[in-house]
Symmetry: C2
Subunit: 145 residues, 2 copies
DNA sequence: GGAAATTTGTTGATATAATCAACTAAAATA
DNA sequence: TATTTTAGTTGATTATATCAACAAATTTCC
């Protein structure tokens, strides 16, 4: 097993993070890549809670709590009471957050186009499918305790 | 483009890092995943310099300098003068480092087996090839300045 | 040969990301 | 109702990454 598979995967995710940060930094805000990823989760889910972000991004809840606090401080999101659970609050994206999301998606498309150069649609479909399979396998392993 | 490709990639690399760290932590040393990856680079290259690690792992040279310092302090590697460049030193893995590398490889094989469950050899070959292609595309983009 | 530019590595300061443990309050369960 | 679980917060700490300034050796170019 001299496979460099993992090294390629690590390289891809780091370069992606760098690209996102520079795309966002160009738009100046005191937030990082994790904030953007969390914001994207909030935007995608309806009735998103902090705990939902924890599950989707597989992050520590302490880390998420701080990210949410900072997104609120930056006025990118707002929170309102959860109708069925007083411990929890529902997060939603505000106007400025929507703008940032649009920039994020544009950056993502650009990066996606860059990284998929020379690859066919069927290659990419296969790749995504296998990537999901691997991610699921590892998740199952982590949840074994 | 609603592809979750990037999210899968990020998930895989994070779970890998976690797995490596817990495999190493089990073996108790004051070092992290980056130290292990750097050590692996040193082990793989003959006449490895700090700069070589910088290039292979695409890390900041300041970060590498500190990792090397810590690997030296932990007695996992040693350095000797570079015969053709007085600025530079050649790094090599010491006995304890070799032991750690063996543990690392064992952990890597285990993780690799976990993550590839249910995938065929040809799927993995394709996947690795495409991953390398994507990594190269992104690298070319970063080097454009 | 020598000045200028580049490369290699070090250090300081700081930012970002992740981890762990203790804790509160609400909710679910038994 | 008593116990356990869940959602979130906070404090403390570690790990990882970034940027700028610097020294010393090497290379480039005239």
């Amino acid at each position: 097993m001299h496979s460099q598979l993992i090294e390629h995967i690590i390289a891809i995710s780091e370069r992606f993070r760098i690209s996102i940060r520079s795309a966002i930094n160009a738009n100046e805000l005191g937030i990082g890549a994790m904030h953007v990823r969390s914001l994207a989760v909030i935007a995608q889910s309806d009735a998103c809670t902090a705990n939902h972000i924890v599950n989707v991004l597989a992050r520590d809840k302490a880390q998420v709590a701080r990210i949410v606090k900072e997104l609120l401080a930056a006025d990118l999101i707002e929170k309102c009471a959860h109708p069925e659970d007083k411990r929890s609050q529902i997060l939603s994206v505000k106007a400025e957050g929507q703008t940032l999301m649009a920039q994020f998606h544009a950056a993502k498309v650009e990066i996606y186009n860059q990284m998929t150069q020379g690859l066919s649609g069927s290659q990419l479909r296969d790749f995504e499918h296998i990537a999901q399979c691997i991610a699921d396998n590892l998740l199952a392993e982590l949840n074994k305790d």
